[in-house]
Symmetry: C2
Subunit: 474 residues, 2 copies
């Protein structure tokens, strides 16, 4: 009997626990004074059996095919070195742009689905083109089909927030020598009550005309004198200077201004003074150039069949869409999410905020914006004021990205490369989607930007995209 | 007997150790599996009995007097808001500047004690003034006493590296409205083989003449049009953009350029183009403005009797000197230290390096440079490439500073204020002195800057200053 007792299972004096899954178990063990190591394990794809089946194939039998395609996509994202070469009227450079066409952000949608800010911006561009004299007249032209609306992305073009592009809009011309492709983006309109913030006032229309007739030609002359400027080279420097190059692009803007300074000062055109005044007061000027660079890189990367990497991500204020390299031109959409973790200008709040809008989410696909939150104390301010929260945002991006930039470095993380190439498999498996650093517009009134914050891409887009990729490859 | 045994001192089952002093004791305890908490205690003032006696008085009977004075010094450092108001020939603005005088960095010294780079820079300025046609002729003028040398600091002026100032040199005029005082610094000469890097070639002299006759008047006109610019406001932004505003001032330079951009473009003077080209290629341009701002703040702060705060710190390449607010104009000097933690340009190394030189160490007294290392991934690169090392450099500054800036924030440390006001008592007690982020010049040849690194102020200066303050107050 004594012998029997001795052979009973003896509980060890020291217990260490490896806890897989729910953290509360580990907490309970720690509360009793024992050590517990946690493994952050979750049920894959939240237990969605259709997704689990698709993931089983895409990580199993199809894995080597997908990985090979993804490696090529990452190479293209990492090696593209787009350069801005000039500014031109849209009609002279943007492919398939109809003479009566206006380009807008995000996936395509019907006129009656347009949110307030985007509707007002379209009207402003229609008036800028001289096709209508009032917002009402512009509205009925569009409603009557006498102005054609199309998504900018289909035309190698990206537009921030609610900005729109007509045939005479002055756009940056960006060349990607590695891919042999080009991309386009309008000149950033600057702060205040302007069309890209959803304003269609006479002043906003006059500003569009000034950008077209004055800023465009003057800046083009300076850019021609400066020669092609490598955009990711400026972006890499800006990332080490507190920019995430989405919510904040001030350092990169200043680097760009320094680069063109002698050429601006050297212009004989006296209108250069008003352009210089505009540049000096616009710390978001580089945003549109960064977007065009990201667009050029993702467009080249989008031509790789079989890849599970996201190469398109954009919102129109009504819906949010993503595209995969492996599924071509098809958008996978869901309702546009609200912007969270927001800071509002005094007197404004979430009840007045339009949903997430604009093509700028393309930045989050190439290691910028939310992916580079750890680069930016300014972004940390939106996340409670601690760098830890900014680092966690970058770490979340790392968890769903399949590559790392070799040129975009995060100084605060000892210069490790920023995460690039969102893998739809990882996003669907973990239930983690890109965090997007973005501005917020007034939903119903032409009052411009009312705040900024962080939006999270809807998981449903990633679910649809994963299933479509599986169907295509299986 | 059994009872006696029971009363014997029983060793506890669990031992936790509080270790004060040498870390090796704690390590030995940890090696045996027990917990040890370390207190970083050191013998005060390294056991120097004279210092301990002085510290006993200055932290004891004299403490409240010293603390009250220090509070006022910190207020002056923190509240000074110097503004650049223009550029002028030195003779028109710098007080007590003799018609045949050349100002140099650091404490005063005899001509035969001048290090190579500073000697060559003096010659270049003598030739720029037209007093001599060759370096040899310049040399004999100075050796013969026909050119007077004086320390710039005594004339409310600061000069970086080996830069020197003659009566016709174009200098920034900086006003400190809070203190009612002014400070001066020459225009930064930019990169290459230039006089501030110890070069006296004909090209270096021609560049000084160009700065005087072209850059000075052109930039003055732009500055007059721009109106007074608050320098610490630009510096505070630059700190959140990766500058330590000593070794690196690129972000702050770009902010300054953006502020004057419309006024530069607006100039009718066609020489503005060459000035813009110079500005566009000079990422250290703001360094001299930051130094002038720090000089204006420390000069006002230096007028508080009884304070133990360092309000002057400068090197001439031969000696290193500090001044205390409480001991007035007296320099406490020691031999100039070597620059450590250095990165050299290819082909150069420590054997070719001149000792630490220039007035720029004034920046480390107002929360910049080494004190703000944690602001700058670029500085981290000099400290082994990790932000941890940069943060430790800032923490070392915190250990000897008695205040915190309310406007200069360190983003990566969750926006805590940068340490300001080096207390000579703390430095002497802990044996810790300011780390200074600085450039390195070639010691013997006119080859310019050959690297950059971190210099540590000699402890002996702080020892002398502490004893002098004690003698004065006791």
């Amino acid at each position: 009997m004594a012998d029997d007792n001795a052979r009973r299972i003896q509980l060890p004096k020291q217990v260490a626990v490896l806890n897989v899954g729910l953290g509360t178990f580990a907490e309970a063990i720690r509360a009793q004074g024992a050590a517990a190591v946690e493994v952050d394990w979750r049920i894959p794809a939240r237990g969605d059996l259709q997704l689990v089946a698709a993931l089983t194939r895409l990580y199993g039998r199809l894995n080597s095919q997908v990985e090979a395609a993804n490696t090529e996509v990452i190479r293209r994202l990492d090696e593209s070195s787009p350069r801005v070469v000039g500014i031109s009227p849209a009609r002279a450079v943007i492919p398939d742009l109809d003479e009566r066409m206006v380009l807008h952000c995000g996936p395509p949608l019907a006129w009656d689905e347009f949110c307030g800010p985007l509707r007002r911006s379209v009207r402003a561009t229609v008036m800028m083109e001289g096709w209508a004299q009032s917002p009402d007249e512009a509205d009925s032209l569009v409603a009557g089909g006498r102005v054609i609306l199309d998504e900018a992305n289909r035309h190698s073009t990206v537009v921030p927030m609610a900005a729109t592009v007509g045939p005479s809009t002055a756009v940056f011309v960006v060349e990607n020598p590695q891919g042999g492709n080009r991309s386009f983006s309008p000149i950033n309109q600057g702060p205040g009550r302007v069309a890209w913030f959803g304003v269609d006032s006479p002043e906003a229309v006059r500003h569009l005309i000034w950008l077209r007739d004055c800023a465009g030609p003057v800046l083009d002359e300076a850019l021609q004198a400066a020669g092609p400027l490598d955009l990711f080279s400026l972006i890499a420097q800006g990332l080490l200077m507190g920019d995430d190059v989405h919510m904040r692009s001030q350092a990169t803007t200043n680097l760009f201004l320094r680069a063109i300074l002698p050429h601006l000062v050297g212009l004989k055109d006296r209108r250069a003074v008003s352009v210089a005044r505009f540049l000096s007061a616009n710390h978001l000027f580089f945003l549109n150039l960064a977007m065009a660079a990201a667009k050029a890189a993702t467009d080249w990367a989008s031509l790789v069949p079989g890849s599970s990497v996201v190469t398109g991500m954009a919102r129109n204020g009504t819906s949010f869409g993503i595209k995969l390299s492996g599924t071509g031109e098809r958008w996978f959409t869901a309702p546009a999410p609200p912007v969270e973790d927001a800071l509002y200008h005094p007197g404004f709040g979430q009840d007045l905020a339009a949903p997430d809008i604009g093509d700028s989410a393309v930045l989050e696909l190439v290691g910028l914006g939310g992916a580079a939150a750890a680069a930016s104390p300014a972004v940390a301010n939106f996340l409670g004021g601690t760098m830890r929260a900014a680092v966690e945002t970058t770490e979340a991006a790392e968890s769903i990205c399949t590559g790392r930039s070799s040129r975009l470095q995060l100084g605060f993380l000892d210069f490790r490369g920023s995460p690039i190439g969102v893998d739809v498999r990882r996003a669907a498996e973990l239930g983690v989607t890109p965090a997007i650093n973005t501005g917020i517009l007034h939903a119903t009134e032409p009052l411009g930007q009312i705040g900024a914050g962080i939006a999270h891409a809807p998981l449903d887009c990633f679910r649809q995209a994963l299933l479509a990729l599986d169907e295509l490859l299986a």
